[in-house]
């Protein structure tokens, strides 16, 4: 199905927003402006956006250790996200979660997670709700989380209960600092997922259209009551596991090469302009719009209200 001009621009806007959000964080972290641990999503934008462009507020996603991209793609407020990462009380989580726990359940984003592999079981539970709503639940995992027992339990339980859960494995080829070729014992995540008894496919994670079309098929399959499915997306991580990671595990020239040859934003631009679906100027206008948004986000985050000691005990319980 051909996407409308508006839909194409929106997909590009989302991917570009993620890219500029992350690149700006990379700079701000280097300047010492941001506390704590941050794991950037840049490079994988086509995965989050190719999945989430299908979803509505009653569809659920659970994210990973690398959660900013999923958050933006699912519709979390970018200004509030930046404020959260800066630790402001005006942030999406009032400065209590930060980068690793960024979430907004009101838009169906059930959280990034500090524990690799913790998300898949939670997505099974969201799948119970999704089944009663006629929606879907998405478990984003990386090639690191895919090796956790929790992910195996979740896949099996989703099959047993025939839940509309889609396990999206973003294979960026590194679980923290260890190669996928070493850490994934099976032939691939896809063959392993298939062995759990679910439909399991692959798509090209640096091509928005590949992800988007594959996900359309899986969402139709899952909402028709066929149980869960999985998709493995081959993609690239442009930064280290965390900000500050010297990335000594990378190959010679690898980082330059993946930015040159395997950049999902460049791929998208080339495809839509060559097919004359959009003009280069249309995309440049989005670039400018997004750059302004990110500038504004950082400016507002730096000026936003700071928490005080009185806020520590707030929201531990609803009533106690």
């Amino acid at each position: 199905m051909q996407l409308s001009r508006e839909a194409l621009l929106q997909a590009y806007r989302q991917m570009k927003t993620i890219r500029m959000f992350e690149e700006r964080l990379h700079d701000e972290i280097a300047l010492g402006e941001i506390a704590g641990f941050t794991h950037l999503y840049a490079g994988q934008e086509a995965c989050a956006v190719g999945v989430c462009e299908h979803l509505g507020p009653k569809d659920y996603i659970i994210s990973t250790h690398r959660g900013h991209g999923h958050c933006i793609a699912k519709g979390c407020d970018v200004l509030d996200m930046m404020k959260e990462i800066y630790g402001s009380t005006e942030g999406l989580c009032k400065g209590k979660g930060g980068s690793m726990h960024i979430a907004d359940v009101n838009v169906g984003m059930l959280g990034a997670n500090g524990i690799v592999g913790a998300g898949a079981p939670i997505a099974v539970g969201a799948g119970i709700t999704a089944k009663s709503n006629g929606t879907v639940s998405i478990a984003f995992s990386g090639d690191g989380a895919c090796n956790q027992g929790t992910t195996f339990e979740a896949m099996n339980m989703a099959v047993v209960l025939k839940l509309p859960v889609i396990f999206v494995f973003e294979n960026n080829h590194y679980s923290e600092h260890t190669g996928e070729a070493y850490a994934v014992g099976a032939e691939s995540m896809t063959t392993r997922a298939a062995a759990f008894g679910m439909k399991a496919i692959k798509a090209n994670g640096i091509d928005f259209f590949s992800v988007y079309e594959a996900m359309r098929e899986l969402i139709e399959y899952c909402t028709a009551g066929n149980g869960p499915a999985s998709i493995e997306l081959d993609c690239e991580r442009f930064y280290g596991h965390f900000e500050g990671d010297p990335q000594r595990y990378r190959g010679e020239g690898e980082l330059d090469r993946i930015r040159e040859e395997r950049d999902c934003l460049k791929t998208f631009r080339a495809k839509v302009t060559e097919a004359k679906l959009l003009k280069g100027g249309d995309l440049d206008a989005v670039d400018k719009e997004v750059a302004d948004l990110i500038d504004r986000a950082v400016e507002e985050a730096k000026a936003a209200a700071r928490p005080t000691a009185n806020d520590v005990l707030e929201d531990v319980y609803i009533s106690y």
Binding site: Y60, I62, E84, G91, L92, C93, K94, G95, K96, G97, H101, A103, D104, V105, N106, G108, L110, G111, N113, G114, I115, A118, A120, P121, I122, A123, V124, G125, A126, G127, I128, T129, A130, K131, S132, S137, G149, T150, E153, A154, N156, M157, V160, L161, E314, D315, V316, Y317, I318, S319, Y320
Partner: protein, 338 residues
């Protein structure tokens, strides 16, 4: 009032709450039982018979029989609760908490806080706990001390049929996550249970016996042991002010301190091992907030710092007993300053 065993109170309370609230679901291993087996579903209804008949009444979408996957059971309860359901998750033995600790401790307990107060995760995790069955080191433990130490969780430990109804109803309707600990040795205990809707708010201890000489604090199976000890001590003219804490998080500090201020003596009975435990926590509370009232050092009757042993003789030696409680109380009464 109706006479009921605790196991039936649990089943009936869940039944009443499921009838009342369509969003309530229940998950666990063998809570239906027999699925995929020649005998067919409902062969079990929970290994403690705490969910008999619920699957037939409410269906497989609400009474969800799961594989042996504790992390996925708790994670699924969490995900369902975050997205608008209420969930009761059953962990067959409290000892299995190790398998799903991340989902309890890092996920459920922290969601609301980490998400800036925007989320709600109404999950009740029911766990049979405690000794007395010669069930050996991995099926007999007391886990309340360390779950009580986790901010974000509420911890409930009923010891009577009536309290089980009131506290379980409260737990299911509560918007915060609740660890609901059911002592295995008490499932068959029978007693009067109020008919109709009955809720007991958390954080209110139950006065079991009244007395002016010693404040005795206990939970779960230890409440009955302490009651037996108190009856014996009463024959010797020693009055025990016995409080069943009912919930350890929140804790009824006021009732504890009021009692100690009156009696001047504190005896804590706890089935858990003694280090960094409920007993030491209560001791710290009283020694920091009611020190001036104390006429003697605080006495603690607890399990030792060891795993729960298997053999009858060993488990009997391990568990606190009414005799040990009486001995500790006598020691308290005999104490004279320097």
């Amino acid at each position: 009032m109706t006479q009921k065993m605790i196991r039936d109170v649990i089943r009936d309370t869940i039944d009443e709450e499921m009838a009342r609230d369509d969003s309530l679901i229940m998950l666990g291993e063998d809570i239906v039982g027999g699925n995929g087996a020649p005998g067919g579903p409902e062969a079990i209804g929970g290994i403690w018979s705490t969910s008999t008949g619920l699957w037939a009444k409410y269906g497989a979408d609400r009474v969800i029989d799961t594989p042996i996957s504790e992390a996925a059971i708790i994670g699924a309860a969490a995900g369902a609760a975050l997205t608008g359901k209420r969930a009761i998750a059953e962990i067959m033995f409290a000892d299995f908490i190790g398998v799903c600790m991340d989902q309890i401790w890092n996920q459920i307990a922290k969601f609301r806080y980490m998400f800036g107060g925007k989320s709600r995760c109404p999950v009740v995790i029911r766990m049979p706990w405690g000794g007395g069955f010669n069930a050996a080191p991995q099926h007999s433990q007391s886990i309340h001390s360390f779950v009580t130490a986790m901010p974000g969780l509420k911890v409930v430990m009923p010891s009577t049929p009536a309290d089980t109804k009131g506290l379980l109803t409260q737990a299911i309707r509560d918007d915060d996550p609740v660890i609901f600990l059911e002592h295995k040795a008490l499932y068959g205990v029978k007693g009067e249970v109020p008919d109709g809707e009955y809720l007991i708010p958390f954080g209110h201890a139950r006065q079991v016996t009244q007395g002016d000489d010693i404040t005795v604090l206990a939970t779960g199976m230890m409440v009955g042991f302490a009651e037996a000890a108190a009856a014996q001590l009463a024959e010797d003219g020693i009055g025990c002010d016995l409080l069943d804490l009912r919930t350890t998080s929140p804790l009824d500090e006021e009732a504890i301190l009021d009692s100690v201020e009156r009696t001047g003596r504190l005896l804590i009975v706890d089935e858990a091992p003694p280090r960094c435990s409920l007993a030491t926590d209560l001791s710290a509370l009283v020694s920091s907030k009611a020190f001036a009232s104390l006429k003697s050092p605080i006495e603690m009757v607890t399990a030792p710092h060891s795993p729960v042993p298997f053999a009858r003789e060993l488990e009997s030696a391990y568990l606190p007993s009414p005799e040990r409680i009486v001995a500790a109380a006598s020691k308290l009464m005999a104490y004279r300053r320097g």
